[in-house]
C-alpha cells in the first residue's frame, strides 16, 4: 500500500469574538479606513435587511430572505471584486451587491415582485439573484470561460449556501472550473442551516471546503464573521484567478441569525442555546469592538453612521414604493428580442384586458 495523495484544510481566523487579533494578521488589519468603510456597508445592509423584513410584515414587500448575521461574507466579497468582475449571487448577497452599484430600491423591486429590479443601472454585467439552488455556480464557470477565452484579466465569483453544496450543479461547476482552470471563485456561506436542515445532516464531509479538493482546486475554510480573514482569503483567491492560476473554493463559516426567509419560522428548529451562542460571534459587533478598542470608533461616529444609513434606506424605500407598475405589454416585450408573430394576439388581449381593468378601477 502506498499513499497517492494527501490533503488538509486550512482554517483562517485573525480576529476572534473576544476581540483578540492574531499576531499573524495581515497588514489589512490595521487599514482602518478600509475597515470603517466595510463596517459602514455591513451596518447599512443590516438596516436595509431589517427594513425589508418589516415591510413584508405589513404587506409592502414579498417574501424576503435576510442576510442578518452574515454581512461580513458579502461585505468582503463586494470589497474584493473590481467593477469588471462578475458576481453570480445566490440570494443573501446584499452587502456585496450594494458595493457593486446595485441600488437598494432595485433589490426591493426584485423581492417586491417587479422584474425591473434585476435591470441594474450600474453598468455591471452581474447575474441577478438566483433562486434555483446552486445553478449560479455554472453561470460563473461560463462567464469565467468567456474571460479566459478573450484573455481578459477578469474574475467571476459565485456564492452559495451550505445546502447548495449537496447539489449536482455545484459539483459540476467545481469540476469544470478545476478541469479548465477557470478564473472563478466559489464562496460558500456555511450558515449552518438549509432552511431547517442543519449542516450536521447535510453531508458526511467534515468540511464543505474539501469538496473543492476533488475538483483539483485550492480550498480554504475561513471564519465568515471575521471581516479581516474574509478579505484576506478573498484577495488571495481573486489574485490567483486573475493571474491565470485557476479557481478557489472558500467555505465561510457563519450562522444564520435570521429565518430562512420571511415565510419561515426558525424558532421551530434552531435550538435557542445554539442561537444565543452564535449571536455572540456575529460580525458587526466584532468589528465595532475592534474599531473601538483601536480608538477608531465612538458613539458619535456610530450615531452619525446609523443616521446616514437610516436615511439612505428610507429614501430607497420611498423610491421603491413610488415605482409605477409596468405596462401589461411588458409581460411580452422581453421574452425575445423581437416578439414572435404568434404572440401578438395574446399581447393585444393582455393590453385590452388591462385597459378594461384600469377603467373599472377608475
Amino acid at each position: 500500500m502506498s499513499t497517492v495523495a494527501e490533503f488538509s484544510i486550512e482554517h483562517h481566523q485573525f480576529l476572534n469574538e473576544d476581540n483578540e487579533l492574531s499576531p499573524s494578521a495581515p497588514p489589512f488589519a490595521k487599514d482602518f479606513t478600509q475597515l470603517i468603510g466595510l463596517y459602514g456597508i455591513m451596518v447599512l445592509t443590516r438596516l436595509f435587511d431589517g427594513k425589508a423584513v418589516n415591510m413584508q410584515r405589513v404587506g409592502k414587500m414579498g417574501t424576503f430572505p435576510s442576510s442578518y448575521g452574515q454581512e461580513a461574507v458579502f461585505a468582503a466579497i463586494g470589497h474584493c471584486m473590481t467593477a469588471d468582475d462578475v458576481l453570480c449571487p445566490y440570494y443573501r448577497d446584499y452587502a456585496a451587491m450594494l458595493q457593486r452599484g446595485v441600488k437598494m430600491s432595485e433589490i426591493l423591486n426584485y423581492w417586491g415582485g417587479d422584474e425591473r429590479g434585476s435591470n441594474y443601472q450600474a453598468g455591471i454585467e452581474d447575474f441577478p439573484l438566483c433562486v434555483p439552488i446552486a445553478t449560479q455556480c455554472l453561470h460563473a464557470t461560463g462567464v469565467a470561460f468567456a474571460f479566459k477565452h478573450r484573455s481578459e484579466p477578469r474574475v467571476s465569483l459565485a456564492t452559495l449556501g451550505d445546502g447548495a453544496t449537496s447539489k449536482g450543479d455545484f459539483y459540476e461547476a467545481l469540476n469544470l472550473a478545476g478541469d479548465w482552470q477557470l478564473p472563478t471563485v466559489f464562496v460558500v456561506n456555511n450558515n449552518q442551516w438549509a432552511i431547517s436542515v442543519p449542516r450536521s445532516i447535510q453531508t458526511g464531509a467534515e468540511t464543505l471546503a474539501q469538496k473543492g479538493i476533488a475538483a483539483g482546486m485550492p480550498v480554504v475554510q475561513v471564519d465568515g464573521n471575521d471581516i479581516i480573514a474574509m478579505v484576506h482569503v478573498l484577495n488571495e483567491a481573486m489574485e490567483r484567478a486573475r493571474s491565470g492560476k485557476g479557481p478557489t473554493l472558500i467555505e465561510a463559516v457563519t450562522f444564520r441569525l435570521c429565518d430562512h426567509t420571511t415565510a419561515d419560522d426558525a424558532k421551530r428548529y434552531i435550538p435557542q442555546d445554539e442561537y444565543d451562542e452564535a449571536k455572540l460571534k456575529e460580525p458587526i459587533l466584532r468589528l465595532r469592538n475592534y474599531l473601538h478598542s483601536n480608538g477608531q470608533w465612538d458613539e458619535n461616529k456610530e450615531k452619525a453612521l446609523l443616521d446616514k444609513c437610516k436615511s439612505d434606506v428610507e429614501s430607497s424605500v420611498q423610491e421603491y414604493l413610488a415605482t409605477p407598475l409596468q405596462a401589461a405589454s411588458d409581460l411580452f416585450d422581453y421574452l425575445y428580442e423581437e416578439l414572435p408573430e404568434s404572440l401578438s394576439e395574446q399581447r393585444q388581449e393582455a393590453l385590452e384586458f388591462a385597459q378594461t381593468q384600469g377603467a373599472a378601477h377608475e
Partner: protein, 325 residues
C-alpha cells in the same frame, strides 16, 4: 458540387459560422477529436483550435456554462449527445436560458443553441430514441427548431446560431444520412418561426416535422395517384408556432392530418389541433386527425416500428378524413 447528408450539413453550418463569427464556440461531449458520436463536428477542432470544446461528461454543466458564456456575448453551440440525456440540463434551460432576457428586462441575454439528436428508428439502446420536443415547446422564451432535410438543417442552424435568443435545435437522427442534397455553403440562413410548404395541394393538409416529413411526402405522392392532392407542411419551428401558414392551408383544403413521432398527449400536434378548433372550425369539412407515437413508453428497438407512425397509418388517417361525410 457534391451532395451532402443532413449530418454533413450540420457540420458545414457549424464550420461556416465558426469561420465567420469569432464569438461562436462549440461545446459538448466527444465533439473534439472524435468529431461527435454522429460526426456533426467532424474536423472542426483541428480547424478552430480552442473553440471546439470537449467538456466533462455533465449535461447540466454544459447548459449552465453555456448560459454564462452567452450572457458574456459568446454564442455557444452546445451538443447534448442524445436528447435522452438532456433532462439533467432542463433546470438550466427552463430556469435560466429561457428567462435571462426577461428577468433582467434585456440587460443580459442568452444567445445559445443546444443541439441534440432525437427520435427513433435507428435501433438504438434505451433512452436514445424518444421525441420530447413538446417539453421545450411548452416553455416561454425558447425556440424549438427541427430540420427535415440537409438544406433546412444548414439554413435553420445558421439562423439558430445567429438568433439572439436560446434555441433548442433537435436533429432527427434517423434521417442524418438518409437523403443527400446539394447544399451550397453560402452562409444563407433560412427563416425561423416559419413553416415550409413542401408540396402544394388542395384536398387535404398534412402537417408534420422532422423525420416524419419523409413518410408524409411519400404518402402524399402515392395519394396523387388516387387523385388526392395533399399539401405537405413542414412546421420546422415548433415553438413559436407559425399557425398562419397552417390556417391558410386549411382554409384551402378544409381537411387536416397532423403527423408526429412524439407521444400524442400534449404533443405539439395537440396545440395545432386546438388552434384549428379555435380559428378554423368553419373551414373544416372533417375532424382533425393525429397520427403520432402512442402514449406509451418508447419501446426498445425490436418493437419501435410498431410505435412510430408508418406510411400505412398516415394513409389510413388521410382516407378517414377524406371519406368523412
Amino acid at each position: 458540387m457534391s451532395e451532402i447528408t443532413l449530418i454533413e450539413a450540420v457540420d458545414q453550418a457549424l464550420a461556416y459560422e465558426l469561420a465567420n463569427d469569432e464569438d461562436v464556440v462549440l461545446m459538448g461531449e466527444d465533439i473534439g477529436k472524435n468529431g461527435g458520436v454522429f460526426r456533426a463536428t467532424e474536423g472542426l477542432s483541428e480547424r478552430f483550435p480552442g473553440r471546439v470544446l470537449d467538456t466533462p461528461l455533465a449535461e447540466s454543466m454544459i447548459a449552465g456554462a453555456a448560459v454564462g458564456m452567452a450572457a458574456q456575448g459568446l454564442k455557444p453551440v452546445a451538443e447534448i449527445q442524445f436528447m435522452g440525456f438532456i433532462y439533467s440540463a432542463v433546470d438550466q434551460i427552463i430556469c435560466h436560458a429561457a428567462r435571462l432576457r426577461n428577468r433582467t428586462r434585456g440587460r443580459l441575454t442568452c444567445p445559445l443553441v443546444i443541439r441534440a439528436p432525437f427520435g427513433g428508428g435507428i435501433h438504438a439502446p434505451e433512452h436514445h430514441s424518444e421525441s420530447t420536443e413538446a417539453l421545450f415547446a411548452h416553455i416561454p422564451g425558447l425556440r424549438v427548431v427541427i430540420p427535415s432535410s440537409p438544406a433546412r438543417a444548414y439554413g435553420l442552424l445558421l439562423a439558430a446560431i445567429r438568433d439572439p435568443d436560446p434555441v433548442i435545435f433537435l436533429e432527427p437522427k434517423r434521417i442524418y444520412r438518409m437523403v443527400k442534397q446539394n447544399v451550397p455553403d453560402s452562409g444563407k440562413a433560412l427563416p425561423l418561426d416559419q413553416c415550409f410548404i413542401l408540396r402544394e395541394g388542395s384536398d387535404i393538409t398534412l402537417v408534420t416535422w422532422g423525420a416524419m416529413v419523409h413518410e408524409t411526402l411519400r404518402v402524399a405522392n402515392q395519394l396523387a395517384d388516387q387523385g388526392i392532392e395533399a399539401e405537405v407542411i413542414d412546421v420546422a419551428t415548433v415553438k413559436p408556432l407559425d399557425m398562419q401558414t397552417i390556417l391558410q392551408s386549411i382554409q384551402k383544403t378544409g381537411r387536416c392530418v397532423i403527423i408526429h413521432e412524439a407521444a400524442r398527449h400534449c404533443g405539439v400536434g395537440a396545440e395545432i389541433a386546438a388552434n384549428l378548433a379555435e380559428k378554423a372550425l368553419t373551414s373544416l369539412f372533417a375532424p382533425v386527425q393525429r397520427v403520432t407515437g402512442y402514449d406509451t413508453i418508447m419501446p426498445y428497438f425490436k418493437m419501435e416500428k410498431h410505435y412510430m407512425p408508418s406510411e400505412a397509418r398516415i394513409r389510413r388517417a388521410v382516407m378517414d378524413v377524406m371519406e368523412y361525410a
